[in-house]
Each structure stands twice: as structure tokens, then as C-alpha cells.
Amino acid sequence: MLEVHHIFKTYEGKPLLNDVSFAVPEGETICLLGASGSGKSTLLRIIAGLEEPESGFISFNGRDLTSTPAHLRDFGLVFQDYALFPHLNVNENVAFGLKMRKLPQGEIAERVANSLALVNLSGFERRRVTELSGGEQQRVALARALATRPRLLMFDEPLGALDRTLREDLLNELRMILHRTNIPAIYVTHDQEEAFAIADRVLILHDGGIVREGTPADVWANPESAFVAGFLGLGNLIRGEVRGKTKEDMWKVESDFGVFEVGCAHEHQKGEKVHLLARPLSAEKAAEERRNGANPINGVVEDVVFQQDRFKVTLDNGLYIYLPEAPKVGEKIEVRVKVECLA
């Protein structure tokens, strides 16, 4: 099990990582999700031993790794730009780590072949890495990291340079490979779809700390903060002021868009400022029956965009919702939207 203990790191005088701690148990894939500049790559490099924290330490299976240099940590690292060695061919790239470990020739050949088979690149052994496509290069980088059978695999935005369909394919392959090999993994990305697709557990990094940690489903359902809801793009963020409690144990919150009845996890004071989340997917035409937490919103349709099975509708007050059928631009509509409280 990898453990990260109270890591501090500054960048140009400002705190970049401020007391970051977490653990990765055997067989689990965790995902560090954060905007660029949030320090997630630096954290990865600290774990890899390529940078040193100003305080705090990394341990693996209870052993402090502070004095273990990068090349003795036995952690595999896959870079965004692949970092393939341009002067070596595919075979030599994948064999690099095995040669460093001074394995016998026969075993090197066998492991290289296995790794290349695992990433569907059998037969590419003699190719020059500079002649490969982006997707193929990424597979070589993955095979290179897998061949040494590291105790931990780390991915630094590994699919960032690839196009969308390729990214989805590789992500699926990667998830299956990780499950098959059971190697614990840390995956760093700024792309939430990627993070939710691959992670057993998501850690959201913001302002030098971990602001939310949980399974993808849990984080999605309960963002718990305006930052997380906004970062994940869960819906309309609305500022409001608490007016009081209703009989059904709901809270009355006043906002620019009307007074909403919302459910909250915490107790609030009257007059307290809170953030609300109006999920656009929950929108229904007003005629339908009113459900818990569904509040009416009025507006004039300003823009309608077709999106596969639904329409994204933007209203003149700035809110957006998804509807199964397209209203007319300029039409005045009333919808019911589920509004929730962000603690």
C-alpha cells in the first residue's frame, strides 16, 4: 500500500501542495483530478522520487521512501508526451527497464513480448518509435511501464494528446489491464470523464489540498461544495440566502430566480448565504406533477442546441437545462428543476 503523508511543496513562493495525505491500497486505481496548476503532476513526481517535498514523506508497505532515489523505487510512470526514447526502437524501449534490472536475455525477450501483446502491439518490435501514431506511442509507453512489473503505476495525463474516440478506446483497455494485473495505480488528469471512467476512487485537488474524495458515483451524487459542483460541471450554481424551514423539513432559500424549497445535509441559520445546485438533467415541463425538491423556474428561451438524445436549452436569465423536445427560441416556458443544497 502506498501512503502519502502530509506533503508540503511551494512553487515560486506560493504553496502548491499544502498538507496532502492519502493512501492507495493494493489493486485500487485512484484518480487525482484537478485543474492545471493544481499541483497534481508535482505530487506525482514527488511520489516517483523525481522531486522532493519540502516536508512530509512517501511510504510503501510501511517503509519510508525518502532516501530511496527514483530509480530504486520500482514505480512505473507514464507521461503525457510518452517520453519514448527516440534513439531506440519499440523493442528496445520496452526492454529498457528490464535491462536496467539486468535480467537474463531470455526473460527480457519473453516479458517484452508479453507486454506488447497486452497492449495489442505484437509485431511492432522492430519499428522506430518516431514512426508510430500517437495512440501506438502511448501503448508502447504503457508496455514499457508494465514490463518491469512495478509495485505501483502512475499516469500523468496519459491520454491528453489523443483525440476523443482513441481516448475512450485506450481508457477501456487500460481499465481492463489494470484490473487484470491488479497493480495499484494513480491516474492524474484534468478531464472528469476520464477520471470517472477509470477510477475506483476520485480525489479532487484544489488550492493545495484534497477537497473531495470518494467513488465516482458518490462524488457525482454529492459534490458537497460549490467548487466541486462547478469543476465537474454538474449544473447551474445559484447563490441564495436561507429564509427558514418548511413543514416537510425542507429549507426555504431565496435567490435571483425565486424562492426554492431545497433539501440540505446540514442545519442552517436564517439569513445564512448558501450555494445551490440546479441540475439541468432533472428539468421537466411544469405541467407534470411536483416532486420533492423540484422547483419551478420561468424564463424566455434564448438558445437551443441539439445534443444527441436531448436539447440543451439556455434561458434569458442565464440558467440552462436539458429537455427531450425543443422549445422555440423566444418562447416563454416554465420548468421544474431539482435544486439541492451545497453545504
Binding site: 522520487g49 523525481l50 530509480h71 520500482d74 508526451d81 526514447f85 527516440p86 534513439h87
Partner: protein
């Protein structure tokens, strides 16, 4: 936690982000310490001695100043005249290359670039072999009685031969990136050919013309070998006068004064050049370079272009071909040779290089000069790589302080070779008995080129490659061995060949500091040329031919190893 540990960790963390992993173990200063101390010893200390000698009251007499101003005036005069003539040949050539397609174009372009890289002694020997009093033209057409060597014309023509390629490249590039639509637009607005040129094309080309002319002027201003060997000592430019005041009419204070004037002038010219270059980025619409290149169409065009191409190729080919040709033909009697003289083909000039003759210029077989040159070149390669590698590593990812150090390393490039030699004589005169000083002087000249070859290659290795290797289990030493070294191999070979070529051809500094019993090829050529007799002259030709071949071989190697797009000086 303790504060002491905290700061040391912070410092190490800072280091690890700015140097390759395998260098993070020791402080960065060491990258600089050795090259910088070399510069201090080999350049700045001698320079300070020259300055000290110059600003001595005994030096700044009206007599000395008067002589210095005369020499300065002549140096400017010949440089300006040479530049004008170079422009006169270079501009039409640039136009020809930028606008017309003709057979053998790329070959001719390569041919024009060859002289620029040849040692000055080879160029001087080439012109001597063609037009000199013992050259091909004179001996084959005895009736033609004109003086070439020993005239200003010889100097000017050799300078044009040398530097036309600069105008050709810089102005040619500007011309071929000129949008042909501009010309069309001007014509559609009612401009005739004259006005198209005067009001549109020339103003756009002006920065390129100015920059290339300044560069040519700088080279003509600091030219030494050509002037000494083709003009003779009556054409005393600053360089030649410094040499004369060191070796022939010793007056070191005057020599020092002249080199300070020389240094100040080259610095001013370089500064103006840099200003022109940085200001000259005129934005023209990007387009394909091929669009306004065409084959000559009308008969007049065809005749004109054929004539010009013929003229240009003759001008560049004849001196280069005459040299090896002359080295195989006996055209005059050897010194002391009596009776029947066998004229015609001979290999005597080469075999004679291996003979140790009493009364010859040397007390050793002249071929020793080749061995000396190769030895010096080898030492220069090793020394300049040892000094160049750490500096190039630091410069590949410089800190703010190191950015200041960069021009310091390039400074020797701007000072003349004769002055470097003078500095060595003043500072290390007592050590001149040792032949070891020569490789140090050559390294000083070669170091900027070595660093400029290595630096882009080092910078082109992403730090992530080293980190990837490290995360795959490679120790710092293994990272260097398996990543840096193989990737840098080509650049290292190019840098080494640069150092080798520079050392082989270096003339000014070597002439001043080399020991008589350890001559280099250029020094030997100079001595042979200054002696009477057909045999001595023939041996000069043979030596120059050997040097030319070695240099051309090296140039081909450099071209093979160079990273495309790197190596701008």
C-alpha cells in the same frame, strides 16, 4: 521538523528541477567553474595585460597615435571597398538564385559556400596558384604582364571570393520570401519597373542588405591571412600591423594599442549588426518559396543568365582548381637548379615534403607540420569538448545569472586571432618555448562553435526522457550512458569536427605563438610562400592542397552530423 533540513531539501528540490537528474548531485556552479576559469586565464587576463600596456603613458605618444590612425583609416578603406564589391557580385547572384531555376543550381550554391569555410592560407594559395607571379596564368601566357599579388586588387578579389556567400544567403532568403503579389500590386497601381524596385523591393530588402553588408564588413575588417599573403606588408591593416609589430619590428606597446582599437571597432560593428538583425523582422505573408522561381524564358534572359552562371562558377572554381593543379606541375626552375629543367607533371612537391633538407625552411621534414597540425587539432578537440560540454549543459537551461555569462563565452569570437596571439605572448611569454600553448589558443577560438553546436542538442532532450529512464530503474550514470550519450553522439561529432577544422586552419594566433620547430600546416605554407625557388613554392601548393582536402572532408562531416536548424552564430 528542523529548519536546517527544510532549507537543504528546498535547495536540492530547486536544483533537481533545473538540471538533468544525474547532475543534481552536485552544485551547478561546477558546470561553469572550469570553462569560466579557462576564459579568465586564456582571454580576460591577456586582455587586461593588453589594456594595461595600451594605457601606459609611454604608449599613447602622438607618433604612435598618428600611425594607428593611418592604419585604422586604411583598414576601413579596404573593408568598405571590399564590402561594396562583394555586394556588387552578391546582389545579382542573390537575385539569380531567388528568381531563376537553371541546371546545376544547387551545385553552384554549394560551390559559392566553400571558400567561406576554407582556411585563409588555402584561399591565398589558390589565388597565388592562379594569378600569382609563379601561378598558372603567368607561366602559361608569359606575355600577360600584370601584377596581381602585392596589389590592393588581389586583397579585394580574395575578399569578394570569401564573402559573396553571405550576401547570397541573407539577401537571397529575403528575396525569395518576398511575396510576388506585392510586385503585382505595385504594377497594378501604375508603378514601372524602376519604381517597383526603388519603392517596393529595395525598401523591404534594406534590413537584409544592411545586415549582410555589415557582416561582410566585419570579416573584411578583421581579415589577416589574405592580406598578409596576397597583399604583403605594405598593405598594413590593423591585423597585419599588429603582427608586424610583434614579429618583424617588435614594438609590443604599439601592437597592444592597435589591438585595443581593433577590439573596440569590432565590438561597435557587432553591436550595430545585432541592432539591425533584431529590428529587421518585417512581417511578410507566409507563402511557398517555389512560387516565384522560374526558368529563363526569352532569348535575352537565357543568354544573360548563362553568361552570369558561367562567370560566377569560373570565379569560384578557378582558384580552387588551380591550387591542386599547380601542386602537380613544375613550371619553373627550382632554386639552385641548373641545366635542363624538366617542366610538366611532377609529384616532387609531395615527395619533397618527406625529405629533411639542409638549407630548407625547416630543420625537420615539412610533412611534420601535418603531424603537428593533426596533433594540435586533436588536443583542441579534447580540450574544447571538455570545456564545452559543462558550459553547454548550463546554457541549455540557463538561470538568470548564466544568461549574463553567455556573451562572455562568445566574446573571443569577436576579437581577432592576432590579438589573442599577442595576449598570449604578453601574458605567457615565458611559456612560449612549449608547444602546448597552441591548442589553448585554438580552443579559445573553437569553444564558441563547440558550445553552439552542443547546446541546442542538449536542450532538445526533454527532461522527461531522463525521468522516464530513471523511473524505469536507470541510475544517474545509466541515464547519462543510455539516454544523453547516444542522443548527443551526432552533435558531439559535429562539435568535434568544428574544433578540428578550426584548429587545422587557424593562422593568425598560431603564426604569433607557434615555435619554429613545431610549425602547423598554415604556418608552413606561409614560410614556403615567402621563400624563393620553384621547389619551395611547389611545396606550399602541395601543403595547401592537403589542407584544403582535410578541410573539405571535415565540412562534409559537419554537414552530415549537424542537427537541421541549429548552429546559428
Amino acid at each position: 521538523m528542523e529548519t536546517g533540513k527544510h532549507t537543504s531539501q528546498r535547495r536540492r528540490a530547486f536544483l533537481s528541477t533545473s538540471v538533468p537528474v544525474y547532475l543534481s548531485a552536485f552544485p551547478r556552479v561546477f558546470l561553469w567553474l572550469i570553462p569560466l576559469s579557462f576564459l579568465l586565464l586564456a582571454f580576460f587576463y591577456p586582455l587586461s595585460r593588453i589594456l594595461g600596456l595600451t594605457f601606459d603613458p609611454g604608449t599613447l605618444t602622438s607618433e604612435n597615435l598618428h600611425l594607428a590612425s593611418d592604419v585604422l583609416l586604411f583598414t576601413f578603406y579596404q573593408a568598405a571597398l571590399s564590402t561594396l564589391l562583394t555586394l556588387l557580385l552578391g546582389f545579382p547572384s542573390a537575385y539569380l538564385f531567388a528568381r531563376y531555376d537553371f541546371p546545376g543550381k544547387s551545385l553552384l550554391r554549394a560551390l559559392t559556400a566553400v571558400p567561406f569555410m576554407l582556411p585563409t592560407v588555402v584561399v591565398a594559395a589558390g589565388f597565388s596558384a592562379l594569378l600569382g607571379p609563379r601561378g598558372l596564368v603567368h607561366t602559361l601566357f608569359p606575355l600577360s604582364s600584370f601584377n596581381f599579388t602585392g596589389t590592393l586588387t588581389a586583397i579585394l578579389i580574395a575578399h569578394v571570393f570569401y564573402n559573396t556567400t553571405i550576401i547570397l544567403r541573407v539577401v537571397g532568403n529575403a528575396l525569395s520570401s518576398l511575396d510576388p503579389k506585392l510586385e503585382a500590386a505595385a504594377r497594378s497601381l501604375g508603378a514601372d519597373s524602376f519604381h517597383v524596385w526603388w519603392n517596393v523591393i529595395l525598401p523591404i530588402l534594406r534590413p537584409a542588405i544592411l545586415a549582410s553588408s555589415l557582416l561582410v564588413f566585419l570579416f573584411d575588417f578583421t581579415s589577416f591571412g589574405v592580406i598578409l599573403l596576397l597583399g604583403g606588408s605594405q598593405f598594413a591593416t590593423l591585423e597585419v600591423e599588429i603582427y608586424l609589430r610583434v614579429l618583424r619590428l617588435p614594438n609590443l606597446p604599439l601592437a597592444a594599442l592597435l589591438s585595443v582599437i581593433q577590439l573596440v571597432c569590432t565590438l561597435i560593428i557587432s553591436l550595430i549588426y545585432t541592432r539591425v538583425v533584431t529590428r529587421s523582422t518585417i512581417q511578410t505573408a507566409p507563402r511557398s518559396a517555389a512560387s516565384n522561381i522560374r526558368k529563363p524564358k526569352t532569348l535575352r534572359e537565357k543568354i544573360l543568365i548563362t553568361a552570369f552562371v558561367f562567370l560566377l562558377s569560373s570565379f569560384f572554381l578557378f582558384p580552387l582548381v588551380s591550387l591542386p593543379l599547380r601542386s602537380f606541375f613544375r613550371l619553373e626552375a627550382d632554386r639552385g637548379q641548373r641545366g635542363e629543367v624538366q617542366y610538366g607533371f611532377t609529384t616532387d612537391y609531395y615527395t619533397e615534403l618527406f625529405v629533411n633538407r639542409r638549407g630548407s625552411v625547416f630543420y625537420v621534414p615539412p610533412i611534420r607540420a601535418t603531424a603537428n597540425s593533426l596533433g594540435y587539432a586533436g588536443a583542441t578537440v579534447i580540450l574544447s569538448l571538455l570545456l564545452g560540454f559543462p558550459a553547454a549543459f548550463a546554457l541549455a537551461k540557463p538561470t538568470r545569472l548564466e544568461r549574463i555569462l553567455d556573451p562572455l563565452i562568445m566574446l573571443p569570437l569577436g576579437s581577432s586571432a592576432v590579438m589573442l596571439g599577442l595576449g598570449f605572448i604578453i601574458s605567457y611569454g615565458a611559456w612560449l618555448v612549449s608547444p602546448m600553448l597552441v591548442p589553448f589558443a585554438h580552443t579559445l577560438v573553437a569553444l564558441p562553435f563547440v558550445i553552439r553546436s552542443l547546446q541546442p542538442a542538449i536542450a532538445s532532450i526533454p527532461e522527461r526522457l531522463r525521468q522516464a529512464a530513471s523511473s524505469l530503474g536507470a541510475s544517474p550514470l545509466e541515464v547519462w550512458k543510455n539516454i544523453d550519450l547516444p542522443i548527443l553522439r551526432r552533435a558531439t561529432l559535429a562539435a568535434a569536427t568544428f574544433a578540428f577544422t578550426i584548429s587545422l586552419g587557424e593562422f593568425g594566433a598560431t603564426l604569433l605563438i607557434s615555435r619554429p620547430e613545431y610549425p602547423t600546416i598554415p604556418v608552413a605554407i606561409e614560410r614556403f610562400l615567402s621563400q624563393p625557388g620553384g621547389l619551395n613554392y611547389g611545396q606550399a601548393m602541395a601543403m595547401a592542397t592537403i589542407l584544403m582536402l582535410l578541410t573539405i572532408l571535415s565540412i562534409l562531416l559537419i554537414e552530415k552530423f549537424r542537427i537541421p536548424g541549429s548552429g546559428e552564430f
